[in-house]
Subunit: 341 residues, 2 copies
């Protein structure tokens, strides 16, 4: 079907030995080859469309030039646009560095250690794990054993390699904005129940920032959603029906914010006239929602890129200065927040 061309064919065509072919192609420095030989080999290789068989190469070299991209809960992949942005950053960076990306999903219920088979089968050199549960013992174990892992999220392991956002600036700015507009009764719709690092710290930070302004965030002002617009809609309804006096909501992400807007409408309140709304993530569509969404900006693609760079550094044994990288966030002021009426 596709004619199998081996280093043998290249060698014969260039009139040299397979050793020479290998040396030229791997830019080996152990011996000095004539430019002429080098050129002939390269020429033959390109004429034949030769690419070294990756399996053979993996076997002998012991690495795969592939990293695993582990999606902790693949069901949210189609739901929230954050992961695709991350993936884009990751795959782009990997391509630049000559790495491939193997996509793996792990589903929550699975009893066995889901990482073990990925590690043991040696299909990948290391992995980037998206949204790990912050108490995942298998992951902590993997890190303990020194396997190359980079987390987008955290398991609170002192040695972990991870890339996250310092949510404080963004949330602080949002709170400041809201309070400045006269809001005192503020609710929030986190993107999932406790257990992911994102929810936990964001909620804590929000609470702290509100406290700085003398505002309390009682548990009843927190209504959990589940990444999706649908869940955001329902959570907001519950929240607003319980506390009609809430005048502003911090949504866990921009997708949830979509649901907040429609929930408010369903209750006869419009955004921002009767309810101010702040999103989180600044997704590409967020400026174009109606009303344009005020949100906390994070650079998901950059996060992905940096995670990939970190892992590649690790794989290549380069020195790593910062093990837990924090990226900044900022408030993007648009039309979904307004003076309280």
């Amino acid at each position: 079907m596709v004619p199998k061309v081996t280093s043998w064919d290249v060698a014969r065509m260039a009139g040299v030995s397979r050793t020479t072919v290998s040396m030229v192609l791997n830019k080996s420095e152990t011996v000095s080859l004539s430019d002429e030989t080098r050129r002939r080999v390269l020429q033959a290789a390109s004429d034949l469309g030769y690419k070294p068989n990756s399996a053979a190469r993996m076997l002998v070299r012991g690495d795969t030039e592939t990293i695993g991209l582990i999606i902790s809960d693949p069901a949210i992949l189609p739901i929230d646009a954050f992961i695709p942005q991350l993936m884009h950053g990751i795959s782009q960076c990997n391509r630049e560095h000559g790495y491939h990306v193997l996509l793996e999903g792990i589903t929550a219920g699975n009893s066995a250690n889901p990482y073990e088979s990925m590690v043991e089968s040696r299909r990948i050199d290391g992995m980037i794990v998206l949204n790990p549960r912050s108490d995942d013992p298998n992951l902590r174990d993997l890190i303990d054993r020194g396997y190359p892992v980079v987390l987008v999220g955290s398991v609170r392991h002192p040695d972990e390699l991870s890339v996250n956002f310092t949510t404080s600036e963004g949330i602080s700015a949002a709170v400041e904005n809201l309070v400045g507009l006269g809001h005192r009764k503020i609710g929030t719709v986190p993107f999932c129940r406790a257990g992911l690092i994102g929810t936990d710290v964001r909620l804590a930070v929000l609470r702290r920032e509100l406290a700085n302004h003398g505002i309390e965030l009682p548990d009843s002002h927190v209504e959990h959603a589940n990444f999706s617009a649908e869940s955001g809609h329902h959570a907001t309804r519950r929240l607003l029906e319980r506390h009609p006096d809430i005048t502003a909501i911090m949504a866990g992400n921009d997708t949830i914010a979509i649901g907040c807007i429609s929930a408010a409408h369903a209750l006869g309140r419009s955004v921002p006239e009767h309810l101010s709304l702040v999103g989180f993530d600044n997704l590409p569509f967020s400026p174009w929602l109606t009303p344009a969404l005020t949100t906390i900006n994070v650079d998901a693609s950059l996060q992905g890129k940096i995670a990939a760079e970190l892992l590649i550094k690790r794989l290549r044994g380069e020195p790593i200065t910062e093990r837990q990288i924090k990226l900044p966030t900022s408030l993007v002021l648009r039309a979904s927040t307004a003076q309280v009426t």
Copy 2:
């Protein structure tokens, strides 16, 4: 770091030969092994956490149990939620069948044949190509050579394996709905310029369906966007400024529809009171937009699943009855269309 355990270790622990181990693990039928032996081997393998080294296995068996997922224009990955849904379907199906997914992006500008290196390096057994350009010669060549490819999209090759939607029912129903509501001046904002099978056929179908109702779709009623809400916003503005008498718009996808809504608002028209809007894709967030989006439903996840199944069938040499699979579409009526005023 991670202790390397080989079939040798398993053999020794179980007190058998490596052959036996291999046979047990691959459920070889050529010989009949005693249940006791089988059990001992399995036990040892599991105790040791043994997984066959995938590189060695690939090398000797000549396949990789991996399929390539080729994203033609990776930049749209973070923009439009359609691809993530597809990916979800694909990766799920592959997992069920024991295949892995290698993610590859090809960027338009790249001069060389981007598929060649994937094929030659033998990292994958076959590929699913998302959104190929319908005139991609490299892809046609690959199909000619009998390489296992499944297209999500089409290159109009008679032998291609592809999975697409029969857009007619959905568009026909949408047109019927719009016309029934009294709309006569209808515009459209396709999701990209010509060249992708989706745009080309959808536009043709729309034109035909409108013609059935005696309505013309002049070129000036078509304003191309580029997958994103932003592009949808700008295209809609251009369209509406040029033709203020347009009362209904068919958006190329739901993300673009977001931009249509805000563009209408910016021009002082609200949806659906002053402009009816029909989306395409029925993304998870679409029911929760304000107004809830009337749209054409496609099951992207199913499309992915079927594409994966088709490829796996092909790889396993199973008979393929339908080479070009068409999935149905349907109109989902919600709140973004209304009687023309």
